[in-house]
């Protein structure tokens, strides 16, 4: 058994109960879904994409081309919910199915598309460049608690127009784990697909063993922009999984109540599933999101707010009731430095996500809402994830009887440390943290330099990186990736790509 727990490999023979958290009654879920259906008819969904409007009209939805509003009847949505797969896998570059979208599997990837990086020396935010993201990808690769990569940083040393595909290019050049990504434009999606095909070997191979999933984000309330809608349709057509990221801001772009925000989320996601399935029946799609309880003082979108977590958990329950794979942006912090607030917010969201059984939890490393990534926060978050995975692995008897034999043998002696029973079970019973978590004596802590969590995390980043192993892709594929990316860069006025750091 690995020392990191996965939501799947848990309870055996009904010996324990999978710790799980529920917030919605069946009646409430039913009502939320019913209101979702009704919203799709009145006021309908704004769909700023001709192809999607065509698909919806052909399927029998009432489509107003002038206002670009689709009124989608319940039976069309129900059929889509039926044909959308309830589970699928993402594969690593070695061809292994390592991420399971479905059931109560719980997996983690870093928060994506940060526009700044927290500098390890100054603790100030700065613009990320190629070498920063490569270092980040390597770090994710060697952190056992993280199950997938994400295109976590937007590099500022290439033109903005290729910001999305350049991240994917860099990640593919250094990763082995599957990746959560997304396109910023309609045309760049095609280049990103070409990059993935270069690694997978062919379009068929990519569809059969997807190594990436694309985030597609409706805009609240009830709007599909041309860009994200087209990305979703293109993904569906090529069998590339997509992940709905519906983001009601409760009290600003959505009802302020948790239940109301979830109703909006439900309607947006149901419309997404419908468009996706109309584009290609059976295409993998995930019920996900990044909602927030709007901050009524600052006008911000706090990811560390308990209200935000509640919306995430509640919509996850709705997604599960519809038998769809789930995703949520959780485990982030609104703090600007890696401090107590940063830790408590990240821990809260991560534990909630694990207890809710969210299949893919995006957010590790992310702070300042969803705008800043930090290597140090990532390695601290990895410890939180390790603890969360241990938590949901639950309690098992391990032995029959549980303790009678052992305790009678030892009688009243406190000699458990020397028992084979202890040696056999301790590393399965306990989550054993890295040196990021200090559990030494006061003297030991002083001897090691009286370091704060931030300093210990910084040390750990350096240590981890020495364990990085180069990705398994061939030099030919590596060259092809670079050639594809260079062609795109030249379209936008960049003749040479920044040099890659040594792998």
């Amino acid at each position: 058994m690995r020392d990191v727990y996965n939501g799947d490999q848990i309870i055996q023979e009904g010996r324990g109960v999978r710790p799980q958290f529920r917030m919605l009654s069946d009646d409430l879920i039913e009502q939320i879904i019913a209101e979702g259906f009704q919203l799709l008819m009145d006021p309908g969904v704004r769909v700023h994409n001709r192809e999607a409007l065509g698909l919806l009209a052909d399927a029998g939805a009432d489509v107003d081309l002038e206002s670009q509003i689709a009124y989608i009847p319940r039976d069309i949505v129900e059929r889509a919910l039926e044909t959308a797969p309830s589970e699928f896998y993402l594969y690593d570059l070695g061809g292994e199915p390592v991420v399971h979208y479905g059931g109560d599997s719980v997996q983690f990837d870093p928060g994506s598309a940060a526009i700044t990086l927290l500098d390890s020396e100054t603790q100030a935010q700065r613009a990320p460049v190629t070498a920063d993201f490569v270092k980040f990808v390597k770090l994710v690769e060697v952190l056992p608690q993280l199950d997938a990569q994400s295109t976590a940083l937007i590099c500022t040393d290439v033109p903005e127009e290729i910001g999305d595909l350049y991240r994917l290019y860099l990640a593919l050049s250094y990763m082995r784990k599957p990746i959560v990504t997304g396109a910023f434009r309609k045309d760049t999606w095609w280049t990103m697909k070409d990059l993935l095909v270069a690694v997978a070997g062919s379009e068929d191979a990519l569809a059969e063993r997807p190594i990436a999933i694309f985030d597609v984000c409706p805009s609240p309330p009830l709007l599909w922009s041309d860009l994200t809608c087209q990305n979703m349709i293109d993904c569906a057509r090529y069998g590339v999984p997509s992940e709905l990221v519906s983001m009601p801001l409760a009290g600003a772009t959505a009802p302020v109540t948790v239940a109301g925000a979830v109703v909006q989320h439900t309607a947006e996601c149901m419309s997404g599933v419908t468009i996706c399935q109309l584009a290609s029946r059976g295409a993998p799609i995930v019920w996900g999101g990044s909602p927030a309880a709007f901050d009524m003082r600052e006008g911000t979108t706090p990811m560390g707010a308990v209200g935000t977590w509640m919306i995430d958990v509640a919509y996850t329950e709705v997604g599960k009731a519809l038998d769809l794979p789930t995703h949520a942006y959780l485990g982030m912090s609104d703090a600007k430095i890696v401090d107590a607030q940063c830790g408590l917010e990240s821990a809260g969201g991560t534990l909630m996500a694990a207890l809710a059984g969210v299949n893919m939890v995006s957010g590790a490393g992310m702070m300042d809402f969803e705008s800043c990534q930090s290597y140090e926060k990532l390695v601290i978050d990895a410890e939180i994830i390790g603890m969360a995975k241990r938590l949901i692995a639950g309690v098992e008897a391990r032995d029959q009887p549980i303790a009678l034999g052992l305790m009678r043998e030892l009688g009243h002696r406190a000699d458990y440390l020397g028992q084979l029973h202890t040696a056999k079970w301790f590393s399965k019973e306990q989550y054993i943290p890295s040196a990021v978590i200090d559990r030494g004596s006061l003297d030991a802590w002083k001897r090691k330099g009286s370091k704060t969590a931030w300093e210990r995390a910084r040390d750990r980043v350096g240590e981890l990186l020495t364990g990085y192993q180069p990705s398994p892709i061939s030099d030919d594929v590596r060259s092809e990736l670079r050639a594809i990316t260079l062609t795109a860069a030249r379209t936008f006025g960049m003749d040479e790509l920044p040099p890659l750091p040594e792998s």
């Binding site: 937007i154 903005e160 910023f184 009290g251 709007f294 009524m296 003082r297 006008g299």
Partner: protein, 214 residues
């Protein structure tokens, strides 16, 4: 009597009763109160109190926005009367604001528009996904002093530069101050594209607007 109505208008804003604000404004007009007096002695003091309560943390954004909307609605009732008298209300300046082409993010821009309006600016919020030409046309039409450009994406942030270029090409760059905002936008970016200012949040935008126009 009239003093009581004006005080009641102030009170209705502070109490966040927008329908009552409209009703009382209409009542005041019908009883012969001067529109400028309704504004200066009824509405403006109310917004002032709401603003103070927001600053001290007693009030939150919903109260601010509801009061600002109520004020705007009341101004809608008063403006025909002002025009009939050939009067104008005092304004901190005229602002055209929108989210740039290719970007549909609304909330930050709308909040700035509402709050600037509540702070005495005459605000023309021209929505989201606004083309450079639409910005230019609206600035010309309204003779705006201030142009606010919002962008929430790294990919659309560059359009702020395009709009500034369009304003230059239209030959009106010296007539209007351009301010920029949005999640990826920084002071450095504002300097790079030749904007006149950048603010990080709503309060900052209002202060920036006032500073640029004095």
């Amino acid at each position: 009597m009239s003093n009581e109505v004006l005080m009641a208008i102030t009170r209705s804003l502070v109490d966040c009763k927008p329908d009552l604000t409209a009703e009382l404004t209409q009542e005041a007009l019908e009883s012969g109160e001067e529109p400028l007096a309704i504004i200066d002695q009824g509405l403006v003091p109310g917004m002032g109190i709401v603003g103070e309560k927001f600053q001290t943390g007693e009030y939150f954004l919903p109260q601010m926005v509801i009061a600002a909307n109520a004020m705007q609605q009341a101004m809608g009732l008063l403006e025909p009367e002002l025009r009939a008298r050939q009067q104008v209300s005092r304004s901190a300046g005229t602002v055209v604001i929108g989210t740039v082409e290719g970007d549909i993010h609304e909330i930050g821009k709308s909040l700035v528009a509402t709050m600037m309006s509540a702070n005495g600016f005459r605000v023309y919020d021209i929505g989201v996904d606004v083309s450079p030409a639409e910005f230019v046309d609206k600035v010309k039409e309204t003779q705006a002093d201030l142009l606010g450009l919002s962008a929430l994406l790294t990919t659309t942030m560059t359009v702020q530069r395009t709009v500034i270029e369009a304003v230059e090409e239209a030959g009106i760059r010296d007539q209007v101050r351009v301010i920029v905002g949005g999640a990826p936008v920084t002071q450095e970016w504002a300097d790079t594209i030749g904007a006149d200012g950048y603010a990080e949040d709503v309060i900052g935008a209002i202060e920036l607007g006032k500073r640029l126009l004095t």
